[in-house]
């Protein structure tokens, strides 16, 4: 194996306010997903499956969970002579370097790392999204066009476009993409429905120069600052069209929906077919035995990884390792992270529950059994929900709630902290 020519940098440091208690103790990229993995597994597995295994991960917010998850990188085969997953946290230095002030600043602060590897192509991508992509196709396109920067784009419904970076491209004969003409970061009135996936391929010298020039400004983001800068300088910026599933998941409702997209006859997300890997050492899930399904269990249109014990009813739900559903309990339309214990006669509907919570007997959470239209209820980690508690839909329960803080009835939309 020759020295790799592509260096990948994953932006994995961010928290997402709207994900609320799920990103209380971890960055968005380390949020559990799909019954056994974490959101960042998609970016890492895509890189592995694209044969790009020289990877750096930029982390800042509560990085412990993420560092633990990446570990040696062996889970994604990123260990070997030229294969590595390096974690790059913020650092202090004699020139007064400090926290990462934005995605572009994070890369800028690590330019000596980047230059040391002398890459021919630099792939910069977000660790927060759920999709399958062969980056080699995009890199080939980038080379063919002799682009300075290639931006991956996806078509979204027009009314959604204002939440993203929006671009217009030359629609030519090449169906894969074309010259990127204009770019607006989160415009109020979007003029296009092509939006950025936060997957960029840069020519190194162009990136270095842009990042240095950007340091004079006040804002340090790839979307808001670097792409417009390169466009102003008439660099060769191309848009590469991606079609396929893309889970943005920046709200609890979106996060819940993308979990539901794992289910059904023809799931939109097929983690096994996509070749998604995770670090089975994280939380010791490799030590879980296959799931046990009891005598009276009902389990329909659901997923469960190893280590579950299911004695009650589970419908349209995702269960992570270590989840117990006792006899008489009903779990529907829910996503239960690692080691949640649902006692007898509980009813959970449209719940997203972080790790390690125990639900006392007869607890009722979420919308009535008839609807998923109501808002999801979010339970922070390490909670002991007292017996018979009723939590109405859309409520938010903070992590580690003290026993005295519990109410018999948590109203719809209420936040318990």
């Amino acid at each position: 194996m020759l020295k790799p020519t592509t260096l990948a940098m994953i932006l994995a440091g961010g928290r997402v306010d709207e994900l609320n208690v799920l990103t209380y103790y971890r960055p968005k990229s380390a949020v559990p997903f799909g019954g056994f993995g974490r959101v960042i597994d998609f970016a890492l597995s895509n890189l592995m499956n694209s044969g790009i295994e020289r990877v750096a991960i930029l982390s800042q917010y509560r990085s412990y969970s993420l560092i633990n998850h990446i570990s040696t990188g062996a889970a994604w085969d990123m260990i070997g002579r030229y294969r590595r997953a390096s974690i790059l946290p913020p650092f202090t230095a004699s020139d007064g370097s400090n926290w990462y002030r934005g995605s572009a600043d994070a890369i800028f602060k690590n330019l000596d790392f980047v230059r040391y590897h002398a890459p021919e192509d630099i792939l910069i991508l977000s660790g927060d999204h759920i999709y399958k992509m062969d980056y080699q196709d995009m890199i080939a396109f980038h080379h063919e066009k002799d682009a300075d920067l290639t931006v991956a784009l996806i078509k979204v419904p027009q009314e959604e476009a204002h939440r993203f970076g929006v671009a217009t491209i030359d629609e030519g004969e090449d169906l894969r993409g074309g010259l990127l003409r204009q770019y607006w970061e989160k415009p109020a009135q979007p003029e296009s429905d092509w939006v950025s996936l936060t997957v960029f391929c840069f020519k190194p010298e162009i990136l270095y120069r842009a990042l240095e020039e950007n340091q004079a400004g006040q804002s340090f983001e790839f979307g808001r600052d670097i792409i417009p800068l390169l466009l102003r300088q008439h660099c060769r910026v191309y848009g590469y069209k991606f079609s396929g599933y893309w889970g943005y998941t920046r709200t609890v409702e979106e996060y819940w929906q993308s979990n539901m997209d794992l289910l059904g006859e023809r799931p939109l997300i097929d983690m096994e077919q996509w070749g998604i890997r995770t670090n089975l050492e994280h939380r010791g899930i490799r030590d879980c035995q296959p799931s046990l399904i009891g005598d009276c269990a009902i389990i329909e249109n659901s997923m469960a990884y190893n280590g579950c014990l299911i004695e009650g009813t589970v419908r349209n739900s995702i269960l992570f390792p270590g989840v117990h559903v006792a006899k008489g309990a009903v779990v529907e339309n829910s996503v239960l992270f690692f080691d949640n214990v649902v006692s007898e006669n509980c009813r959970l509907n449209k719940v997203v529950a972080d790790v390690n919570s125990v639900y006392g007997e007869g607890v009722i959470i979420g919308a009535d059994a008839d609807g998923t239209a109501a808002k999801a209820t979010v339970i922070g980690w390490n909670n002991q929900v007292p017996e018979q508690t009723i939590i109405e839909n859309g409520a938010t329960i903070y992590p580690n709630l003290k026993m005295g803080k519990w109410l018999r009835n948590v109203k719809s939309g209420e936040v318990l902290r």
Partner: protein
């Protein structure tokens, strides 16, 4: 480091285990899958890891490839590092061109150089083909407190089963005073589990005594009991020699029962998730809208749309719409197609059962397998690795369908109770 934790472990993993029939056609008995995710040897290796022992030699002989790839570097059981290690010890040509291991003691004798390279006060000798959970460190402490030359792990079994084991008669201090190897008439119900702690010097002397002493149970132990100080270390708990198809099936079914006393996860049993079969690449198991499961163990990567009852499913098993799996053990990546039925069967890896086929047809469980009546006599049907069962084919009870059989090998649409099918279409 605590001194008691330094004993060297020798794991005997070379046996054929021929009573497991086609399950050991391509692999040694310790490498036979168990409880969905595991292989039999995982229990011994994990017990060694959980006992804090760090150096292991695995003595292999029969079809070791599957076993060796499963063990890998030993990293799965934390046997990598400065003071840790697991070494595979295959037979080597010695003074003669063909020097296969002639028995358990002979195998250890051929590896005296390994013992000498790892000098420890005690040597623990284990069999790699039992299902149990045991703390060897406690056993070593017991061995020391008794000042014993040899300590044998022993447990109470029904008198009717004692003929399969080495049987010991003990005095009130647990010292073994008499030994009978596989006695036809039982005089005791205390059976050897094939777990020995030897004083190192004692072992080396015993092995040097007579080169014709090739077996521990037959030769070394009876002599030691007559002449020296041999103690029984009593074990209470779940322990099974899964050396027969019936025992193997029973032990798998025990995993499904809450009160059976076996729990791989509670026992902290580890397996190598990166080895052949790659459980690491599996997503969570999927359950369809019409799936019906009752009393089942389902590993990651399964896709269940049909009915599964009283069964153990390894990673990647697919049960299509309308298919029924009952009382069965399915190894990795088996596929049961639409409306097929599997009852009381063990399917090796990648078996494919066609639509409307029936494996385990009829209610006559008593016609034993004609070729191996002592292997299959309770109704269990075996289907070998990678075998195909054609659509609408019927296969009776106590049948054996050999590995990699193609649909074209089936000349009749029914394989009768007790029959075996071979790749050339021959039925015996």
């Amino acid at each position: 480091m605590i001194k008691t934790k330094e004993a060297l472990v020798l794991l005997l993993a070379g046996g054929v285990g021929s009573r497991l029939n086609i399950l050991v056609q391509n692999r040694a008995k310790p490498a036979v899958p168990f409880a969905g995710l595991y292989r039999i040897i995982d229990f011994s290796l994990s017990n060694v890891m959980n006992s804090g022992l760090k150096k292991v030699g695995v003595l292999t002989q029969y079809k070791p490839l599957s076993l060796m790839s499963h063990m890998g570097t030993g990293e799965a059981w934390d046997f990598t590092g400065r003071s840790r290690g697991v070494k595979v010890l295959p037979p080597r040509t010695g003074s003669k061109d063909s020097d296969w291991y002639k028995g358990t003691a002979d195998a250890v004798r051929r590896n005296i150089d390994f013992i000498e390279a790892n000098p420890t006060d005690e040597i623990v000798i284990l069999s790699g083909d039992h299902i149990y959970h045991m703390d060897f460190d406690a056993m070593i402490e017991y061995h020391r407190s008794k000042n014993a030359d040899v300590t044998i792990g022993m447990m109470v079994v029904p008198k009717s089963e004692i003929h399969q084991f080495g049987a010991g008669i003990i005095d009130r201090h647990n010292r073994i005073v008499e030994w009978e190897e596989k006695p036809r008439i039982p005089r005791t119900n205390l059976a050897s589990m094939g777990i020995y702690v030897f004083d190192r010097k004692y072992l080396l002397n015993a092995l040097a005594r007579d080169k014709d002493d090739v077996d521990f149970g037959m030769h070394i132990l009876p002599w030691a009991i007559d002449n020296d100080s041999v103690f029984a270390y009593p074990f209470y708990g779940y322990w099974r020699d899964v050396g027969t198809i019936q025992a193997y099936w029973d032990a798998n079914m025990d995993v499904l029962r809450k009160d059976s006393g076996i729990s791989p996860q509670k026992w902290k049993i580890r397996t190598n998730v990166e080895a052949d079969g790659r459980p690491a690449d599996r997503a969570a198991a999927r359950f369809g809208s019409n799936a019906r499961l009752r009393n089942a163990m389902v590993a990651a990567g399964c896709d269940i749309k049909g009915i599964v009852e009283n069964s153990v499913l390894a990673p990647g098993v697919i049960v299509e719409d309308g298919a029924v799996v009952r009382n069965s053990i399915l190894f990795a990546d088996c596929r049961i197609k639409k409306n097929a039925m599997v009852d009381l069967a063990i399917l090796d890896k990648r078996v494919c059962v066609g639509e409307y086929a029936v494996v385990g047809a009829g209610e006559n469980y008593t016609v034993a397998n004609r070729l191996k009546p002592t292997h299959l006599y309770t109704g269990i049907t075996l289907i070998g690795k990678g075998a195909h069962v054609p659509p609408a084919q019927k296969i009776g009870r106590n049948c054996v369908i050999n590995s990699y059989i193609k649909e074209s090998a089936y000349l009749q649409n029914i394989v009768e109770d007790g029959e075996s099918l071979f790749p050339n279409g021959e039925i015996v």
